[in-house]
Symmetry: C2
Subunit: 242 residues, 2 copies
């Protein structure tokens, strides 16, 4: 939308904020004031901030988190992305229809956050901000359903060359827990032995002396990522599987 | 730069066009008129074209190629990306310094092309368009050296989950030729047996009846990608290595 303040014209960012809880991947959505319409958190980019900083700002406003794993994954730059008339009509009680640009280019980010640390916060234009199961959430305004779909595809691709567990799983975790995260994101089951062998061969996990207690079966060891090893491997491209 | 025609303000695309020749990866660069200054092909986005279409248009203008493998890899959105004063000064014989935006956001694309099919073409603002070895090319204007670096990183990551040989190598090719392409992009040598095993296990290569003749050693078989198998595997995510 157009605003009088110093914004970059026709440019927005939209954020797919993902968290992992109860073995399910969840996405953070906003419900517009006095409506049943949901969409992703997003907004314009200021002339005095980088595009990345705009995404970081929006994330902080919605989740309360400062240091968040953010990844640009795609520019949504089609000439017609959605029905402008429909959006103008549905949100006319909040925004003057004249405020919208005829065309906006949106830069999509996905964020991986530790679910347990997030306090979802609506803003001045929304009544509700909450997590939805990624397998079952409402039809969204704009082209936001399409954005979520492509964000998940990008995340799956990224997962094949870069472990993301350190952002989505609270530490310490067991290898079966890490595997369930992978299986949820990739949407397929994996062989536990292969998974364990490949993950440990990367040399970025530290096994703790303690085990996870309380399960029905034998207690698995707890692990944490070794930040310096992870960073070094990432830098050298050693996290690639091929 | 600002123009009177219908362009999206403050938005550009820049293209890292890569080709493979003589076992080396090359990048296509332009030399500005009456200068020794080089940069990547790029330009503004029209209000009546998608961002992807703008990149496709620029590629076609520079290479003569229509169907090209193009990949958005990154938005360059920092508030200050380079010294505007330096660019204004160096190109003032071509552009009125007032034509430049104080700030522009650029969407970076890399393109993988069959080197043998490209006829490099300068435009109205440039004297020369030619291939440079990726290991040895001039310092570029703007933040274009940084862009090339990040494009190569993105290509390396992509290579770990998606074979790109069908865009960079003329068909048919031998497995050692495909391996050299991988080694050049990844910047490291690979074990021939492992490479051959992994590549063939993807089920996307067809072995032809003919062999490559004329080498000093035994003649290796020729291969081509099976387009329908490649597309299907890509769609199902089966090209991921993990």
């Amino acid at each position: 939308m157009k605003e009088a303040t110093a914004l970059i014209p026709q440019l927005t960012v939209d954020c797919i904020i993902l968290g992992f809880h109860d073995n399910q991947l969840r996405v953070l959505l906003l419900r517009w004031k006095d409506t049943s319409f949901w969409s992703l958190p997003g907004g314009p980019v200021r002339q005095t901030e980088s595009v990345d900083a705009a995404a970081t700002r929006i994330l902080r406003e919605r989740t309360g988190l400062g240091a968040i794993y953010l990844q640009q994954f795609r520019v949504f730059g089609d000439e017609v992305r959605y029905s402008l008339e429909e959006v103008q009509e549905k949100l006319k009680h909040i925004f003057d229809p004249a405020i919208w640009y005829k065309r906006a280019i949106s830069i999509g980010y996905y964020a991986l956050v530790d679910y347990s640390k997030v306090t979802p916060l609506p803003d001045a234009y929304t009544d509700e901000c909450r997590w939805w199961d990624i397998r079952d959430f409402p039809t969204l305004l704009f082209d936001h359903n399409h954005m979520v779909k492509l964000a998940l595809e990008a995340l799956r691709q990224q997962l094949s060359w870069q472990p993301v567990g350190n952002n989505l799983l609270p530490e310490p975790f067991t290898l079966p827990e890490l595997q369930r995260l992978y299986e949820t994101i990739l949407g397929r089951s994996m062989d536990p032995r292969n998974f364990q062998r490949k993950m440990l061969s990367l040399g970025i996990l530290e096994r703790l002396e303690t085990k996870r207690r309380g399960g029905a079966f034998r207690s698995p060891y707890l692990y944490r990522f070794i930040p310096e090893k992870y960073e070094a491997a990432l830098k050298e491209g050693n996290l690639m599987i091929l």
